[in-house]
Symmetry: C2
Subunit: 201 residues, 2 copies
């Protein structure tokens, strides 16, 4: 004996969530069954709302209309574009609150092992933006992984001939990082990127 078919289907459906196995999915479905019919309808309507989410025509960020709030914002510095792999990375930087430029979301990184090539990413739009607009700096904030580095290198090479400043986010130890736990590459990069202690910072 097992759960009725509709419960089993719902459990199976919830397993698309990352890290959610049969046990968690079951607990989630039982929580949904505990809701009143009207609350469950509201829950489903809230998920249905995701159908309104589009990608910004300019930068690829999530938005509900054509252009996202950041691209619309006149107060942002349009001369700096920060290139990120995903809208989630964009939000992480945005929530830290120090960056006032604009973004460009690649929707992934180049990967020879996964067969992801330049034409699979939101790259053409990036180069078009750069060549059309009044861009002074492109900050490459793709992940510090092998594929992320490759992607950054690829973009850097493509912009070689332009007079645009291309920068890469710094490598080093994270806040709270333990020296003895750091891998050798990170340690080496943290040393070669060392700066004079600035008493004003």
């Amino acid at each position: 004996m097992n759960y009725p078919k509709s419960i089993q289907q719902a459990i199976e459906a919830l397993r698309i969530f990352p890290g959610v196995g049969a046990k968690s999915a079951e607990r989630y479905v039982l929580a949904l069954l505990d809701l009143s019919d009207s609350k469950r309808e509201q829950f489903i309507a809230d998920l249905h709302g995701l159908n309104h989410v589009r990608q910004c025509k300019v930068c690829g960020n999530y938005c509900e209309g054509e252009i996202c709030e950041i691209c619309k914002d006149e107060n942002r510095d349009g001369s700096t574009i920060c290139v990120v792999a995903s809208a989630k990375d964009l939000l992480a930087i945005e929530n830290a609150g120090f960056f006032n430029g604009r973004y460009h979301v690649l929707n992934g990184v180049l990967s020879s092992s996964k067969g992801i090539y330049p034409q699979d990413l939101n790259l053409d739009a990036l180069f078009e933006r750069i060549h059309q607009g009044n861009i002074q700096e492109v900050v490459l904030a793709t992940p510090l992984t092998m594929d992320g580095e490759m992607t950054a290198m690829y973009i850097d090479r493509k912009l070689n001939d332009s007079k645009i400043l291309v920068t890469r986010i710094a490598r080093g130890l994270p806040m709270g990082g333990q020296i003895d736990y750091a891998d050798m590459t990170t340690l080496k990069q943290a040393f070669s990127g060392r700066k004079k202690v600035d008493h004003d910072e």
Copy 2:
């Protein structure tokens, strides 16, 4: 800046799942956004199917029609009723595969602290079943918590005058249980419930 409203609403909605905080809900919603429109529709339809789930008119188990599969099954021993707090507990016992009787789901346990009284539980239907049917044994499989014990005691007292055998599932150490980690009550119960070693078992 934050996610568009529809993403925020979906994140908020997913937090009804037990143990799911803002971070997990965000990851889940981003996974939903990664789905194609048709796959997301299927996902939502699967959750919608939960509206078909009813409680069995006889035992309170989840089912899709009026009567659940267990109550319909002629091969089950109708003279033994196992009383459980929830349909989830029922399934746990059922999946272990050793019990061939029928069940009765209380939809909770008595709790003076939470204000749950006999009339709030599926108890009247239990006593009606017991008095009408040809029941020989009632196995009380409510949780081994204070409230679960109270509920078991309440049912036992109500059936005092009948000739029905009322049993309670055994207390003791679980499989793999460490003696030094067991609480005193459990240890005491494990000793008082000790059995002669049976070489055939």
